[in-house]
């Protein structure tokens, strides 16, 4: 009997409950590949769905709650190989999607801070878990040791392939090492997590540029597959007069210089141009270099900045001003050095397709600001030509690109995104390569379903306010530029914050055959989540469309819980006189085929 057969698609109930593998016989577990289950998980667990790497967020938060930090770390690591790193610098698409942050529900859960807690609070004797396949004698070269390259290398090593990483810089890590400042990401932690990847038998060659020191064609001859994961390193230019003056820095190069231990000149008054993480990192680094008047200059408003609230707050706390609705038009100098910058005011305007807010210059609104230096952090694009001109010919699909033996992943394919997307892209790429080298797929995503008796949390937990991250004071930030600003949650804080998670991975269902339609559950539900319906349309991806509600008893087909609206308060479960509401723990996992 295939494991999937244990879960009947027709009846949607567990069959043969006692005959599942003996070790799990008490637990009643099933693995499903039914589109409806994938759809249900996608719709009901918004944080996991928003995470490019599909991290089991409610799962690890529950482990933090149970103080099983090691297990929480491993749950993270099974989706992303750098949990401690991402727990500090992730762009947190999960938090934006968190149901706790929806209107009237309060603030989203501090998912990223809890991820960090897994790494910080796991016992010193914690052992990482790797499910290794037998060696295959296949060789793969990975170009670039940034997040995408590391993820590809790690997963290929797990699959039993021999991996060599080529890194052009002195140290591995790519953007993590050279783009992100140390006060946000301590280098000893970064190196520890990189070493945990490299110890899978992966070899690392640093200081070698492919396309300069070694030709790509050479690698293609020597290896069974080559992965290009060189990221985005070509900075976008301002394209205005005066850009080449002394003390006009490019954001990425500025961060690189600082991360190499240099001290580029910033002076006292600094204008940073840009609205992303790099711009804020540059501004905060300028403060640490002794600047006293640092401004972030953005074309739109703060709402459209590509950074999260805590980053905005830290920048503000460090005295950085944000000038919104401005666009640089000219950099002014004395012939050699920058002395000022001219801006124009902008206003927001709507673009209909695709719906987007753009900024438009306001005529005759030029004004000049005196500055000692300008840092332009406008993002970067992939450098396609350096590695090989042939790379333009790669076949592209979503975040993947390949042709013959050559594969590409991460920002090189997608353009500048975030670390978690690069890792997710890297992992996908590794699976594609393995399939090609191995001749068939070895891993498959399934939904693990486990009967769960309780809701695991009282309703009172819904009202716990969000816990802010602990940080060091301004004096300590300035005394040594590398001092990490955020210090992490202590054990009790992590526990308290973990209580806030709704545990959306718990699926609530009403058995329509046992239900007596007393409506007691509807009466106690704090949200509009239990509905009397006449129909639910199903989308091709297994998700539900809009519930067709009815208040006419003659039309009621079922009373049902809309899991996408449910905040898992458990009130319905407590009040049901027929005990016809079941809780099932759903988990998106990967298993061997």
């Amino acid at each position: 009997m295939k494991r999937n057969d244990l879960y009947s698609k027709e009846e949607r109930v567990f069959k043969d409950k006692n005959k599942i593998y003996s070790a799990q016989s008490v637990k009643q577990i099933a693995y499903s590949t039914d589109a409806r289950d994938f759809g249900q998980v996608a719709q009901s667990v918004p944080c996991q769905e928003a995470c490019p790497a599909k991290t089991n967020i409610p799962g690890y938060i529950r482990c933090v709650h149970d103080k099983r930090y090691g297990r929480a770390y491993e749950l993270n690591r099974s989706a992303n190989v750098l949990p401690g790193v991402l727990g500090r610098i992730c762009s947190r698409p999960c938090e934006a999607a968190c149901r706790h942050g929806e209107p009237d529900n309060g603030q989203s859960v501090g998912i990223c801070h809890l991820k960090r807690s897994c790494a910080d609070l796991k016992p010193a004797s914690h052992r990482i878990i790797e499910g290794l396949y037998s060696p295959t004698d296949k060789k793969v070269a990975v170009i670039g040791s940034g997040p995408a390259g590391l993820a590809v290398a790690h997963d290929l090593a797990i699959f039993g392939h021999k991996v060599m990483i080529y890194e052009s810089m002195e140290k591995p890590g790519g953007m993590l090492m050279y783009g992100i400042p140390e006060f946000r990401l301590p280098r000893d932690l970064l190196m520890l997590e990189i070493k945990n990847i490299l110890r899978m038998g992966i070899e690392l060659t640093t200081g070698k540029s492919i396309g300069v020191d070694i030709e790509l064609a050479q690698l293609e001859k020597e290896y069974d597959a080559v992965v290009v994961a060189t990221g985005c390193v070509t900075p976008r230019k301002l394209g205005i007069e005066g850009e080449d003056l002394e003390n006009v820095h490019n954001g990425l190069e500025f961060m690189e210089a600082i991360n190499e231990g240099k001290t580029p000149f910033v002076g006292k008054k600094v204008a940073v141009i840009g609205a992303g993480f790099t711009a804020v990192d540059c501004a905060r680094s300028a403060i640490r270099l002794g600047a006293t008047d640092v401004s972030l200059n953005i074309r739109k408003t703060e709402e459209y900045m590509r950074i999260d609230e805590s980053e905005k707050h830290e920048a503000q706390f460090e005295g950085i001003k944000t000038n919104s609705l401005v666009q640089p038009s000219r950099i002014i100098g004395d012939g050699q050095k920058v002395t000022g910058i001219e801006f124009v005011r902008t206003r927001l305007e709507k673009i209909d397709t695709p719906p987007f807010r753009t900024s438009v210059r306001i005529k005759n609104s030029e004004f000049i600001v005196q500055v000692d230096s300008v840092i332009a952090a406008l993002g970067q694009s992939p450098d396609v030509d350096t590695v090989s001109k042939d790379l333009k010919k790669l076949k592209r699909q979503d975040d993947q690109a390949w042709k013959g033996k050559v594969f590409a992943a991460g920002d090189f394919v997608t353009g500048s995104t975030d670390v978690i997307s690069a890792i997710a892209g890297g992992r996908k790429c590794a699976r594609r390569i393995d399939e090609q080298l191995n001749g068939e797929k070895r891993r498959q995503r399934v939904v693990r379903l486990e009967e769960h008796k309780t809701t695991d949390r009282p309703r009172a937990f819904d009202f716990i306010p969000k816990l802010e991250m602990n940080t060091i004071d301004m004096k300590k930030r300035l005394v040594k530029a590398g001092n990490e600003v955020e210090t992490g949650y202590i054990d009790e804080q992590a526990f308290e914050e973990s209580k806030r998670c709704y545990l959306c991975n718990l699926k609530y269902e009403i058995d329509p055959l046992a239900c007596i339609y007393c409506s007691a559950c509807i009466d106690v539900a704090p949200k509009d989540c239990i509905k009397m319906i006449k129909d639910i349309p199903m989308n091709p991806d297994g998700t539900y469309g809009e519930y067709e509600e009815t208040s006419d008893w003659n039309d009621v087909v079922s009373i049902t819980i809309e899991n996408a609206n449910c905040i898992r308060c458990g009130q319905c479960l407590a009040v049901c006189p027929m005990d016809c509401i079941s809780v099932t723990k759903t988990e998106l996992i990967e298993i061997d085929i």
Partner: protein
């Protein structure tokens, strides 16, 4: 035919009430609702210091009585807070879970006290004088307290300082040059201000910053970065005002520091307008965006917005260059009328 419009005004200050008055005058049948998170009818905010010292009674503080709203057929919802605006369905959500619909919405929610990022940790120890609700909470406490510490400065702060001085209280002030947002004080301005304050027997601290505020048994111990230690009964913060627009965030209405409006006080969303000190307008005269402050500006913006809601296209114009006086230091304002000029009320 009676108008089917429901004009909803968020804010019960001069902008909101003058808008309501114009709307009522020109559209006798429309439903008009004013929403306020305070539990008092329209009152003179600049007279709050006089109310603290009992020179003014609650009745004198009021501009309108509850009866006068009823007389004008204006529904007033007091003590209710809008938490969210759904622009597609033209619905307002309240924190008590009620929802109401509008056909046209005027946001005139005014300002709140600005808390400096460096002081956020101590917010619970800080007191503000921004509303009747604040004042009612502290009025007796102010009378009984002897020693005060004031952070920042700003116009209201100096007025409060003069009031405390007249009451014979001991006051220490730590002036933040950036409390006068959007203006930063120059060193010369600061020195002039200090000299003027010291004549008033106020202890002044400059070029220093907060280290910590510790509360014990209802009193506060303040330590500054440069080592000054002070024990006081009450701590106040006056660091300028910021538009009260949290409930607008996420609604799709464009906001910067305030709600972005064009010269007709229209937001980017149809049928939603903003006026008074919560609105931010591009002012070609200064090549910058400004938020207006002061009672007379709020009144004129309220009147203009009402006319535009009714289909006119009235442009809000700059009202000339003025100066306001902070303890002998003149700060130039280019958009604002004299603020807090009670003679004009």
């Amino acid at each position: 035919m009676p108008s089917k419009d429901h004009y909803v005004i968020i804010g019960n200050g001069p902008a909101g009430n003058h808008a309501a008055a114009v709307l009522r005058k020109k559209d006798a049948d429309a439903r008009i609702t004013i929403i306020s998170d305070e539990c008092i009818p329209y009152y003179y905010k600049p007279k709050l210091t006089g109310f603290i010292t009992d020179n003014i009674s609650r009745k004198d503080l009021l501009v309108l009585s509850l009866e006068s709203y009823a007389k004008n057929n204006i529904r007033v919802r007091l003590g209710q807070q809008v938490t969210r605006i759904e622009t597609d369905s033209k619905t307002l959500h309240f924190d008590h879970m009620e929802k109401i619909r509008y056909t046209k919405l005027i946001i005139a929610s005014g300002c709140n006290s600005r808390v400096l990022p460096s002081m956020e940790l101590y917010e619970e120890s800080l007191k503000f004088v921004t509303s009747y609700t604040d004042v009612m909470e502290y009025k007796d406490q102010i009378k009984n307290a002897k020693e005060f510490f004031v952070f920042g400065g700003d116009f209201v702060g100096f007025k409060f300082l003069r009031m405390l001085n007249a009451m014979g209280k001991k006051v220490t002030i730590l002036i933040y040059p950036h409390a006068f947002w959007p203006h930063n004080l120059s060193d010369a301005m600061l020195d002039q201000m200090v000299a003027s304050l010291e004549k008033m027997n106020v202890k002044v601290i400059v070029r220093d910053d907060i280290k910590q505020i510790k509360e014990s048994h209802g009193a506060y111990q303040i330590n500054t970065q440069k080592g000054i230690e002070k024990k006081v009964d009450m701590v106040f913060s006056f660091n300028g005002m910021i538009p009260n627009i949290n409930f607008v965030m996420g609604s799709g209405i464009d906001c910067d520091h305030g709600i972005l409006v064009d010269e007709y006080l229209k937001t980017n969303i149809d049928n939603i307008y903003a006026c008074g000190s919560c609105a931010q307008i591009y002012n070609p005269a200064v090549k910058s965006y400004t938020t207006s402050i002061g009672w007379p500006n709020a009144v004129s913006q309220g009147e203009v917005v009402a006319q535009n809601v009714l289909g006119e296209n009235k442009v809000i114009t700059s009202v000339g260059r003025k100066y306001f006086d902070l303890e002998g230091v003149k700060i130039k304002t280019t958009w604002w009328k004299d603020i807090d000029d009670e003679s004009q009320l």
